[in-house]
Symmetry: C2
Subunit: 188 residues, 2 copies
Amino acid sequence: MASHARRGAPLTREEILTTALRLIDAGGVEALTMRRLAAELSVNPMSLYHHVENKTALLEGVCSLVVARLEPPPDDGSAWQDRLRALAHTYRSLARLHPALWSYVQVHPEMIGREDGMWGALCRTLLAAGVPKEDLAATGEALYSFVSGFVTAESRDELGRQRGAEDVDRTFELAVDIIVAGLRRTTG
Amino acid sequence: MASHARRGAPLTREEILTTALRLIDAGGVEALTMRRLAAELSVNPMSLYHHVENKTALLEGVCSLVVARLEPPPDDGSAWQDRLRALAHTYRSLARLHPALWSYVQVHPEMIGREDGMWGALCRTLLAAGVPKEDLAATGEALYSFVSGFVTAESRDELGRQRGAEDVDRTFELAVDIIVAGLRRTTG
DNA sequence: ACCTGAACACCGTTCAAGT
DNA sequence: ACCTGAACACCGTTCAAGT
């Protein structure tokens, strides 16, 4: 009985990735194990290697899966301040859906390409804010790391001791306010 | 021959921690292994457990070792803007000495207590900047996560493809400028 | 083409035994 | 008190064999 002992349809890469993501969401990245994942799928550990090159490739697949959902909100012609706030909120919303994976991504950015949608939208917004072209990349990187740093701190906080939900939201608003105000002032 | 087969003096906790830090600096946190550490010390892996409860405790020890070196510069009476810049630079300097450990700490903040020296200095500076008392904690956390997020992004960048040293320095200055300007504006 | 079992080189850690 | 070897329950991964 070597051919699919597992009940139901044959194993698929899609199924592997979504199950891996579920394991990560439930127990952190360290809870994702080739052997545990196989058990979760009722399959021999070695079967996974027919759909995924190795564990690194598996993690990359999971990261792409999530990053693909990171799309900038459509650009209504609103002021750059509001646009910036909207981008930050979009980023934060997705990060909060998968906090463990997101922390992992921040330390292992090679797992994802530059998520072009968000990065492009950010740059356009910064230009609208009057950031000079030669400062564009540096400014974008600074803001990007600000937001991702804040969100990481936030999710690790949530795993730890609790705080009121309205409390963290307020802190996030304050953080975004500082960024917006800082940009306004910096660009004259 | 059960008693210290190892040449020289008996094993010490200090020696264990500094060697562990060296391994982490050289190869990342995932390169730190009880067995490899023991080999590095020319000692049986099990001997480590007489000085350190387990691997988690070992990592905590290494983190404390590094965090202990994080001291705010003495408070000359300079303007809060300069003081804020100085604090950011101090933080960044230490982080760049141990980038791998620092990334790890950001994801596992339970490894360190709130490093009271820096946090206290930050709060005093924010008060001097006119941040209202009820916003103090939120503002401090925001700035703290901004700087740590930026520094993490920076160190992962350094491990990857190179950039000019003066280029990253300039980006850091720009980042700090945004924060300072944002604070100034926010607090009226 | 897809799956599997046995095997290898690693982990962290326990425990009983050595001096 | 400090160290050690054997052992256990895990890892990721290779490889030859099954259908």
